[in-house]
């Protein structure tokens, strides 16, 4: 794999004006598939959620999933799109073993949703409007796993496995118009845009919206042009960039790579690129041109979808609170400062904190854990905090253990270690690792007596009324008990031993 020369981002930005475009695929969480009654469930035994229709056996016919159409309309409405009164499906034809019919049933000329927009708020509060070209319905392909090769790609593989459980899962593909004028904010905008789409579909309840499961997948188009030039440069399309950080990094990398290629006087090859999380770079995929011939034609096995105004309005009435308004409400409810709240949003942790609060934690405790210890560990592990593996339930349980005096903050961090290492629930980790605080007053009294004997000056000061000096003795006790004591109880017992009122 050759390593591409890249320019520094700053230099690239000095010379070139980036233009972006995104195709985001959203897997809908309908009970059944787009055109068949086979279950739409993630993670089951391969090739178990299939029937003759999604396997494309001879003689089968598709039937449109009404719920998927409704979900698509909801997405369109949330993206301020117009909803087509009449739209059709088409066949996109290409031979590939993940596509059982060797064509994908999709929408082509007349998408169900078109001409929308969404306002994206960047970290510093700048609002950037992204225009939506269309959102159309289609079916997902099966999942290929290439075996035996070093890269996990089809090149060099000995054989490939195919799982048709995903074949026919309903998808909505949201396509933006070209996004101009983002300048050096382009990578940040890219991340914020995908985050916003994810937030919207999750909020609508139409998708599980888990990027790590491929529920939301982003293809990022990047092109550069000299400042002042109207005509777009040649674009590349980086496929399946499947985390928010990766979207940001991939766009940044492609800008830097394009700039270096253009600087060397070479033309950009119009192609798909693959993002590599390990090297934080892209490599060449297959050449792609606008002349790719998919031989689209109207799907003759389906009749057009007609959306009555009454139906659309009925769906509009069910739209949940829009995310921007929700954010305002949550900030007020939680009492976070603007800065605190923006940090939470930017860390992608609003949902986690909302769920944590809903499950019984205070807003302050939820923020403390998610923005503190969990975010710190996520950074170390180089993943999004929400994807680290800690659930709101874990946070709530740890908080409860602290409140009950079973563990203290220091032990709680060890409990988190245990949870992340798969040792079970926080309570189970406490039991397995023997992390419970020492609450046996007898054992504590011994330690206190020893600490007081070791620091008689401090003991005298406390007796003399300098109650704040008690900290030094508490510290001594905690050291002896290796942190497994309830500091508040220790303090109480020290004061009692010395006959001082706390």
């Amino acid at each position: 794999m050759s390593v591409d020369t890249i320019l520094s981002f700053e230099e690239a930005m000095e010379k070139y004006d980036p233009v972006l475009g995104f195709e985001v695929h959203v897997e809908l969480n309908t009970k059944t598939k787009m055109f068949s009654s086979a279950p739409n469930v993630f993670g089951d035994e391969p090739n178990s959620n299939v029937n003759e229709v999604c396997l494309g056996l001879p003689g089968v016919l598709p039937v449109v999933n009404k719920k998927a159409v409704e979900s698509s309309i909801l997405i369109g409405l949330a993206l301020n799109c117009k909803i087509a009164e009449h739209c059709t499906f088409a066949r996109k034809q290409y031979f590939y073993p993940d596509t059982p019919k060797n064509f994908q049933t999709s929408q082509y000329e007349d998408p169900i949703c078109y001409d929308g927009w969404i306002d994206i708020e960047l970290e510093d509060g700048t609002v950037f409007r992204v225009e939506i070209e269309r959102a159309h319905m289609e079916e997902d392909a099966g999942k290929l796993t290439h075996m035996g090769g070093a890269t996990g790609r089809i090149q060099g593989a000995d054989f490939s496995l195919v799982d048709y459980n995903r074949s026919g899962v309903p998808l909505v593909e949201i396509v933006t118009k070209p996004i101009e004028g983002a300048g050096s904010r382009a990578p940040e905008l890219a991340k914020a845009y995908v985050a916003a789409i994810r937030e919207i579909v999750k909020n609508l309840g139409v998708s599980d919206a888990k990027m790590e499961r491929g529920n939301v997948r982003c293809d990022a188009n990047v092109s550069l042009r000299p400042y002042g030039q109207e005509k777009f440069g040649t674009r590349t399309e980086t496929k399946n960039v499947n985390s928010l950080r990766a979207v940001e990094n991939a766009v940044k990398f492609e800008i830097q790579r394009h700039a270096a290629v253009l600087d060397s006087g070479v033309l950009i090859t119009q192609e798909t690129r693959h993002w590599h999380e390990d090297t934080k770079s892209t490599t060449s995929g297959r050449p792609k041109s606008d002349a790719d011939d998919y031989r689209y034609f109207p799907e003759p096995d389906l009749v057009p979808i007609v959306t009555s105004a009454a139906w659309v309005e009925e769906l509009r009435a069910t739209l949940p609170e829009p995310p921007a308004e929700r954010r305002k409400r949550l900030q007020a409810d939680w009492g976070y400062s603007d800065l605190e709240f923006r940090d939470v949003v930017n860390a992608g942790l609003m949902d986690q904190i909302e769920e944590t609060v809903a499950a019984g934690a205070t807003a302050a405790a939820a923020r403390k854990w998610w923005m503190g210890e969990i975010a710190r560990r996520a950074k170390l592990a180089d993943v999004d905090p929400a994807e680290l593996g800690v659930t709101p339930a874990v946070v709530v349980e740890i908080e409860k253990l602290i409140a009950a005096g079973s563990i203290n903050d220091k032990l709680a961090r060890k409990v988190l270690d245990g949870v992340l290492e798969g040792e079970g629930t926080p309570a189970e980790v406490v039991a397995k690792r023997g992390l419970a605080v020492v609450s046996d007053d007898g054992a504590l009294q011994t330690a206190i007596d020893e600490a007081l004997a070791a620091q008689p000056d401090v003991a005298d000061k406390i007796r003399g009324g300098k109650v704040q000096a008690v900290g030094a003795i508490v510290g001594g006790v905690m050291k002896v008990t290796r942190g497994q004591a309830d500091a508040a109880r220790v303090r109480e017992l020290i004061l009692k031993t010395l006959g001082v009122e706390g």
Binding site: L57, P58, G59, F95, K101
Partner: protein
């Protein structure tokens, strides 16, 4: 009644005998199985069947007999056997579509029409031969060898459903299912002296019929009498939630229409463009005779013009291959059917798919896939597929105008009688012209029926008369068809198949 007399009865009369206890379903099925064994196999056999489903057919028959003996109320056609065109998928029997690429494939599911056949407890005798993927007008494009016309074993039985038509004509089955994309039920009916109906598009579910051209394909009945086809369409028709193009109309009133028995005051339109030049004189004579009979029976014969029908064949040969090229893409050896590895070189997925399709498809199938792929290609789509769709609209308007003047339309079904095996195999255009009169109905989605109109003077071979009705007016076809049928049989003194030569037994040869 002897077994040989029994198998010559109509399905309706077999049903009556079963109901009256004059015969059992096991006897009836066995008589047909014996007939199949006698005339179907061997080098000079009819070869209507690709698979004979004796065991299951007899088991279903025995079950029907037991239920009838127990006094259970049964469907009118319960116990009456039927043959199935091998384009329709069936559990428990292979489905080949007449192609090597599906050799040995067993469907894990039943077509909707098969579910209905099972629900009516009709024993399935087996699967009938067809041109590969229903592409052809002679059954010579079957990968498993041609079917022979029972009227003359050196002649074609029509196609693609030559197997179903020949099975019925040779008394190997009283009923069969066919599929009709451009005439595959009606043209074989015409050249074998049998009845066949292409129902209104959407009247019968296509679920489980291996698609050639989705917007044109339609399953329909094949029989020896008009009433039998009506009874069978009532069994297989009706709405199916598994077929989005299925109509919601109930499948009723068809047999009643066949029993009305008069055409007084009915306006019958003769399509100016579908007789005369290009039609064999014997065909033309029988056609004119039928017109005269209908006129004498009180129908009003009017002439209608459908000027765009002249473009129908050309437009059909763009739309049909376009859809076929897409529908047949799934046959790649990856998930089902036969797989062929390339003789040499690396085993990549593309090369295995390519080798499978090169070995698995016959010439006519490849011809249509190539044609359709080309017609849908970027830069050609508007000129070919797009223009063809416009012609389709014009044909629909021609029908609208014609049906404003007439209740039903009439034409010869096929311009010629059965030709010799091999005669047109190297001339695709000559082969395609066989469907000139049947294609417009598929392009417009309207129903069409063929019935025997007698024998051509010059060759003594059957001629078909076609009726066409407006969409969802299938009942009109059965009404007028049954009347013409009875007028003709009165004239002939019995069914036209009585004039067919007796078939020599090929059973002895088969045993060798």
């Amino acid at each position: 009644m002897s077994a040989s007399e029994l198998i010559r009865s109509s399905a309706a009369s077999m049903a009556a005998k079963l109901a009256a206890g004059e015969v059992t379903s096991v006897e009836l099925v066995q008589a047909h199985l014996d007939r199949i064994a006698e005339v179907d196999g061997g080098e000079r056999g009819v070869h209507a069947f690709l698979h004979v489903n004796a065991e299951e057919a007899l088991a279903v028959a025995a079950d029907v007999d037991a239920r009838r003996a127990a006094g259970e109320e049964l469907h009118e056609l319960a116990g009456v056997p039927i043959a199935i065109k091998d384009l329709i998928v069936t559990k428990g029997q292979p489905t080949t579509a007449g192609s090597k690429i599906l050799e040995g494939w067993m469907s894990p599911y039943d077509a909707t029409v098969i579910k209905k056949i099972r629900a009516a407890r009709m024993p399935m005798l087996g699967k009938t031969n067809l041109d590969e993927f229903a592409m052809g007008s002679s059954t010579e494009h079957s990968a498993y060898g041609p079917t022979r016309n029972p009227w003359d074993l050196d002649r074609i039985p029509g196609g693609s459903g030559g197997g179903s038509a020949a099975a019925v004509a040779a008394f190997e089955a009283p009923l069969a299912l066919g599929t009709d994309t451009g005439g595959s039920i009606r043209q074989p009916g015409a050249v074998t002296g049998t009845v066949g109906v292409k129902p209104t598009y959407g009247a019968v579910s296509r679920y489980g019929a291996i698609a050639m051209a989705s917007s044109l394909d339609q399953i329909g009945p094949v029989s020896r009498t008009v009433l039998d086809s009506a009874l069978l369409q009532e069994v297989i028709g009706g709405h199916d939630p598994f077929d989005s193009t299925s109509l919601t109309d109930p499948s009723t009133g068809l047999a009643d229409a066949a029993r009305i028995g008069n055409v007084k005051g009915m306006k019958i339109g003769v399509i100016k463009e579908l007789h005369g030049e290009g039609f064999q004189p014997g065909v033309e004579n029988r056609f004119n005779e039928s017109l005269e009979l209908l006129r004498n029976a009180g129908a009003e014969i009017v002439e209608v013009s459908c000027p765009n029908f002249g473009y129908a064949l050309g437009a059909y040969y763009l739309i049909m291959p376009s859809e076929a090229s897409s529908n047949l893409a799934k046959f790649d050896g990856v998930r089902f059917g036969s797989r062929t590895l390339p003789a040499e070189g690396p085993l990549t997925i593309e090369r295995v798919m390519g080798a499978t399709r090169a070995a698995g498809f016959g010439d006519e199938v490849k011809r249509r896939i190539i044609l359709g792929t080309y017609a849908l290609s970027a830069g050609y789509y508007d000129a070919y597929y797009g223009s063809a769709q416009k012609v389709r609209t014009l044909i629909q308007r021609d029908f609208d105008a014609a049906f404003a003047q007439a209740d039903v339309l009439i034409s010869p079904t096929s311009p010629v009688t059965a030709f010799k095996l091999g005669e047109k195999l190297d001339d695709p255009l000559a082969m395609y012209l066989n469907d000139i009169a049947t294609i417009p109905a598929n392009m417009a989605g309207v129903p069409g029926l063929t019935l025997p109109g007698g024998l051509a003077d010059e060759d003594g071979l059957p001629v078909g008369i076609q009726f066409l009705a407006p969409a969802r007016e299938d009942a009109r076809l059965y009404r007028v068809g049954a009347v013409l049928e009875s007028l003709l049989e009165e004239q002939w003194g019995g069914p036209v198949l009585d004039k067919a030569p007796a078939l020599a037994s090929t059973a002895a040869k088969e045993a060798n």
